[in-house]
Subunit: 421 residues, 2 copies
């Protein structure tokens, strides 16, 4: 008998009908002889509707109250799923994050899990009940304040619970039926992967794959919780995310997939005095404002005036704020010019095989050249190459790389739209 944690995203729970379907799947899993713990996101657009209400009553809603507001969404879906399961004759019990022992820091809106003490969940499992836990939420033990875990929080709840309960697998259900070699909406013959290592999944998540949130994959790897990415609309086994790259025999190590991302903007600070600490001051400014930077390029100093340029990418949503901060500091710092570009895209190739197969970078660059795509920035890790290009070149670039490294399957991929929280 296995212990299975299942996480269902908002699109899988968007109506009473979808909730009944999910309940049938849960009960079927239970009837196969498994212990089942379920983590639910809020139904469909509930979270957006609550955010809209908040905006109507307050221009800057306090984060603590926002958490109180938003956690209501998961309570609702939670209770409805439990009801639907009981109406099928199985026993269910729902738990808030607090009741399930999800203890967090007190940072409202983006709390971190510090411990999971699922004693009550274990008791209910011992009583042969299916346990339904509200995702995305926890509680700060000292202040008993209710917190939320930020983007992808329900995935993180599921993985953390799976780790604490020593579950055999954590299944992540959405409307996507697995991890593909590329976005099937862009590359028609993208192939679904049967398995992928944590490291590769981390790189894919980091470079823009929306299937799993980076944080939940990091958590799963740290605690050795196998993940299975599945669709709540089919019985396809999906993709298993597990093990380390070291477990993959070198001969079989291959390139895994192509990821595309058009959510970043490019910022260039020109004419920075080329002295120690000058580059650091740019990044400190952004770090203090909690703006994450991704790719960075510093040109060599031009000999004439002993100045240098720094180019970086950051989330497009933070772009205007980053520019505002830089403009405010420009005169004092003596920077000559600031440039902003949000028409950029990033395409990445990920695969453990990169380590053992020389020439991947050359092949990658040639594929883009043959596709007529110009490279603006390059960044690499041991198992990833990412380049910044024009946004309108993204699809061409992804197809060219996918083709060059023969990642495709023979069939065209089935395409689904949207993802849950």
């Amino acid at each position: 008998m296995a212990l299975i944690v299942q996480k269902y995203g908002g699109s899988s729970l968007e109506s009473a009908e979808r909730i009944r379907n999910v309940a049938e799947r849960i009960v079927a899993t239970k009837k196969q002889g498994n212990d089942v713990v379920v983590v639910c996101s809020a139904m469909g657009d509930t979270t957006d509707e609550l955010l809209d209400l908040a905006a109507q009553v307050s221009p800057v809603p306090p984060a603590r109250e926002m958490d109180m507001l938003l956690t209501a969404g998961e309570r609702i879906s939670n209770a409805l799923v439990a009801m639907a399961i009981e109406s099928l004759g199985a026993e269910a019990q729902s738990f808030t994050g607090s009741q399930a022992g999800v203890l967090t820091t007190e940072r409202h809106g983006n709390a971190r899990i510090v411990d999971v003490t699922p004693g009550r969940v274990k008791e209910a499992l011992d009583e042969n009940k299916i346990c339904i836990v509200a995702g995305f939420q926890g509680v700060n033990k000292e202040t008993s304040a209710i917190t939320t875990l930020g983007r992808g929080g329900s995935d993180t709840t599921a993985v953390a619970l799976a780790a604490a309960l020593n579950a055999d697998v954590c299944e992540i259900y959405s409307d996507v039926d697995g991890v593909y070699t590329a976005d099937p909406r862009i590359v028609r013959n993208a192939r679904k992967l049967d398995t992928i290592s944590f490291e590769e999944m981390l790189e894919l998540a980091a470079v823009g794959s929306k299937i799993l949130v980076l944080r939940s994959v990091e958590y799963a790897r740290a605690f050795g919780v196998p993940l299975r990415v599945r669709s709540s609309y089919s019985n396809d086994p999906g993709t298993l995310v597990t093990g380390s790259m070291e477990d993959i025999p070198m001969e079989e190590a291959v390139l895994t997939g192509v990821a595309t991302d058009n959510s970043e903007a490019k910022v260039t600070v020109q004419g920075i005095p080329d002295l120690p600490g000058e580059a650091a001051s740019v990044f400190r400014l952004l770090a203090d404002a909690e703006i994450n930077i991704d790719m960075v390029l510093q040109n060599i100093s031009s000999l004439e005036d002993n100045r240098t340029d720094i180019t970086f990418t950051c989330p497009r949503a933070d772009g205007p704020r980053a520019m505002e901060l830089l403009r405010a500091a420009q005169e004092e710092k003596g920077w000559l010019n600031l440039r902003y570009d949000d028409q950029v895209g990033k395409v990445s190739l990920v695969g453990a095989g990169m380590k053992s197969h020389p020439g991947v970078t050359a092949d990658f660059a040639e594929a883009l050249r043959d596709g007529g795509v110009n490279i603006e920035l390059i960044s690499t890790s041991e198992i990833r190459i990412s380049v910044l290009i024009r946004e309108h070149d993204l699809a061409t670039a992804a197809r060219a790389i996918h083709e060059r490294f023969q990642l495709g399957g023979e069939d065209e991929a089935v395409v689904y739209a949207g993802t849950g929280r």
Copy 2:
């Protein structure tokens, strides 16, 4: 500086605009130098929408999950009111029932408050914050199960908190601006009362006045918490419910008001063997099914066959179930006949003055006779007379009694519709 508990019903919170209005009133109360604790019902139709969703996923939703579902409604309104207050520059903090220390029995859907330990609320008040507490909900300490308090639960939360905090007054806001001498929709010159005693309010609540729930008035009387019934749409001071009848000088003791109720049905069991215990068996049958009976009449035994009739009233919603139970027992018990009538209405006169003014019952009966209204059942308490009549005679009867005892004011009353939870 006073400590004021304010309770707002669902209709007072039905939109973002209404929530902003309520927030302004709360902040104004605070700025007058008071400590303020606010108890909120769920917004407008939220509860009905959640009940509808529950019905769609389960024919008989488990009570425990229903509580988890419904309490989300108060969390939402709670957080939104706190946000609206903070946007006006005051400090607010919201609390779930559990965080506010509302401890209850574990009877889901209709839990009783066993204790209120509002330590966290007190701390927040000491920090000069406005405290917003989710109404209608509590927690069972032993199992940490989330419970709801049943009909009128938010009023009960407010009164219980006011008692535990030793508040100076508990203000109950709805779309009704006070307690009237009669339903203003029926009696146009009904007069708003400035004050009413707990006992009189209890009698009015018991005989069908919808303004305050019986349970919250009982609680307020037991703990000596003055209540003020007010409208969130006006600045009228409303009606103060306070003190004991004994505090009212006898000379001033008057008749308070007329209440009408068309939510009951009349059941008659005919030809019951006139032996000890036979009447008890009828009532035991209903009690075991948790059907409350209100008025009861037992006729004297007819000498010929030594049998008797029992007539009683019960909530109309429970009428069909009561009849089913009685029919199932009829043959075994030897009852000759069962009769059911749901076209009845009850009109009541309440007032402390009844004790010291003889002849009230005679005047009451004459007023009905003059109005052409036939009396079917009579029941009285020390300060109340109720009679069962035809439902279509209710308005005529209420007006006739109101007129006879000169309860009216000179102006016509302003009429509002609907009430909150």
